[in-house]
Symmetry: D2
Subunit: 267 residues, 4 copies
């Protein structure tokens, strides 16, 4: 089993004909949409990820691609997110930007949070001004990481969610991929939350319906490759023998600052 | 009644011999410590602030003063804070950095939050390493402002506090003063929380034992003068006639970026 | 004579029928373009500004206005700049972002500099890729301020200009206005450079054909009102009696961080 | 020949008994000072670096080490720099912070530049206030990178140097190392400037007495390992076969943002 946050990479590294896993893929205008469904425990075990739907939208490097390619990625992400979120919008959405804003490759979540247009506190005024009758209440939080707050991120979100009672949490996070080509060129959406073992910085605690009591959709963009994964791939050496190295070092594109900005704007 | 977050300024603008208010002041090495106690409702009404103790430590402009002056201010603030906080440390402290990190004069709270050494998540390890048996669990939050989150700051803090159950909240915020000399040279500590009408950016909601169910100590440094206050002082015109002007404009020192950094480091 | 960097404000504060000064103004779609020409020494003396053309494009607050209003301001600024710059593009343009990036109200120049698409170092490749035969070589510098570099800004620019020999310098700077309504809603272009007495932070040294040996077009957006100007206006007291106060304090909109971003993007 | 900016790494990868190269090393309090001298063309060719003295001061990771270790590194760097710089201080020092402030691993130079206390513009006042008769005039520049300015960094420095005529340039830059242990734990000083092939971001142009006509001392801290170097080391594959990969990817510590701050403060 390889270390990656992308279900689509886990599938392509696994043997063919996985039980409990279905895959489909389509391409249009240089953008590929892959859909991996893990349907039972056999699939969970095989891919090391919980049951659910994982949608990957892949274009070209978001920092340098053409506006057309970027627009097509954006359109696909918006469409897929609409489908995943549609059943859960009644009572409002809490968007959570995970990660550490002071660590560039881990800053996707906080940077996205800065761009969210929140509506919860002025729902009535907006309905009046826009002359509409329904508007999803959007709120947003960038809780920081354990080392900054002393509190598990899940505890913060749970505490806030219990007060404002959203019907959906959307968690945005930077991801780790296996292939360097994926960095800053892929968006993964999943309907089963964020799970242990994921994340760029420190391991995130699980954020899911199970832990929060609310459905959690995750959106992520891979920003790093674990150095131990990279070296293991290249050398055939066991990942675990490289793990102390991999814990402290990351492999990231040179233009990571730019990539985070472009990816945050896209998301 | 004048617009200021500093009790000591409210007192000096009021008539002598206020009922329900006691004041004392001492100076040492160029640092003045003033203590205003509002003891009953007459005092509350007179000064427009709730019952409690307000301690002001005043030195010289924190961005340019001598290291000795700064050190003396720091020593006094630490001593006063110890006294105010001592009864409430049993179950841990939640430090809250109020304000908008993207608006420089309002960024004191978030900048202080970045500097807090949190201990709650590694209390046991720290006790072992430092060979001590007791350590106050410190956690920290910079919740952002209503326009960023869509959630009242008080709701966020209350939600988190209900989960981690601290015995004290310390709220750090930028303040508005009446006199420009106060900007970046004064620290106010109060044992009655943050109250409506305070704050640099938008009016903050009340954060106090009443609203959170936990004692709240506030620490603030004045960073702006309301333009309407300044002009009203100079011209004798009614503040309310100037209020739409004052809502959009602030008077702040030229070196505000530097002042925020130095003040955050001091706090 | 009042303290303002805007020629149009200097004119409106002066008596009618100024010798050596011509003014015209036109409005379209909520955007006003004013053109002040100072044609001789009488006009220079009257307005406290050197001979030249000063064009002011005024819309609504750039941080909150409608996209249409912003687009119309942009269109007008682009057109006016084209006209002023057209005679001097042969050998390339050096764009200079003046001011201190670490002092928000003074950061317009450096923030604009971050957004300039420089072409000088890849002129040939761009001509080939874009299949064009002529392209103005654009270079860009954000030299910092005297307190950061120890070198007069004019010396840095002159040193670099002597090596790369541009035919035009465009200097971008934050300005001081007299009226708070002007802040973040007005762009001034002038064909006579930056002159002593201007500037938000410290007084800038003169940057002009006379000091650099190259034509200098300045572009600026007012971001502050001198506190002494404001109070003097309100109280009728002499500005000089307030000058030590005015040197240390500025009056600026609450949303100055946002305003700088929007203004930099527009310019 | 391996890709590293550290002479001490180049030596340790080379065969013993290099002609034209002398090495010595001493340790004290957990800090190692290595001195590599390349004395003739044979040494230049062998190590791929120009003639000169390269001093490496190595402690522990600057972001997490003890204050004592940090202080000892600082003391050694200060002492070595004094020795290297002593002959050239007569007419003043121009400190140059190389690199791109918007790309974290490449931002060491600009971050150091922000911390330099410049004295050139107030030499007389400082001498009077401090009651001294001699003071080295220090000036400072963070010129940005070619992609931001359109001008070769060397051209900018040369233009400015011709106007202010310093007797020494000190160039600060982020470096690339071969071993991940070196990142953020080593300072290299050299008396022969910055040379092609060095640098984290893009290849820097040479900055040396030859190109500027002034002695150039370089100070650098390694912040990245080229991904191609790392993989080549691990796999034994030829670096050039990996070079397109290596050009776009870097290997950097997780805590790079923190490391840059601590390293900049130390330098």
């Amino acid at each position: 089993m390889i270390r990656t946050d992308l279900a689509v990479e886990a599938v392509s590294a696994a043997p063919k004909d996985l039980p409990g896993v279905t895959c489909e893929e389509s391409s249009f205008c240089g953008v590929t949409v892959s859909r991996v469904k893990i349907t039972d425990e056999a699939g969970e075990k095989e891919l090391g990820k919980p049951k659910g739907t994982y949608v990957t939208v892949s274009g070209e490097n978001f920092a340098v691609t053409s506006p057309d390619n970027l627009e097509e990625v954006r359109r696909c992400v918006a469409k897929e997110l609409s489908v995943l979120a549609a059943p859960y919008l009644d009572e409002g959405v809490l968007v959570v930007g995970l990660g550490n804003k002071n660590c560039t490759p881990d800053a996707l979540g906080p940077r996205v949070a800065e761009r969210i247009l929140v509506t919860r506190h002025m729902k009535r005024e907006l309905c009046r001004i826009l002359d509409i009758t329904r508007l999803t209440a959007v709120s947003c939080l960038a809780p920081g990481v354990l080392g900054q707050t002393g509190v598990e991120t899940g505890e913060i979100i749970r505490g806030v969610a219990e007060r404002i009672k959203p019907s959906l949490v959307i968690a945005v996070d930077a991801l780790a991929a296996r292939e360097t080509d994926r960095l800053g060129s892929t968006v993964q959406l999943a309907d089963c939350g964020i799970n242990p073992g994921s994340g760029v910085g420190n391991k995130r605690a699980e954020l899911s319906q199970k832990t929060l009591g609310i459905p959690v959709i995750s959106i992520g963009v891979p920003m790093v490759v674990d150095a131990s994964t990279l070296v293991s791939d290249m050398t055939g050496r066991d990942q675990d023998s490289l793990s102390s190295f991999g814990r402290s070092m990351i492999v990231t594109p040179r233009e990571i600052d730019l990539l985070i900005e472009h990816s945050a704007a896209l998301v």
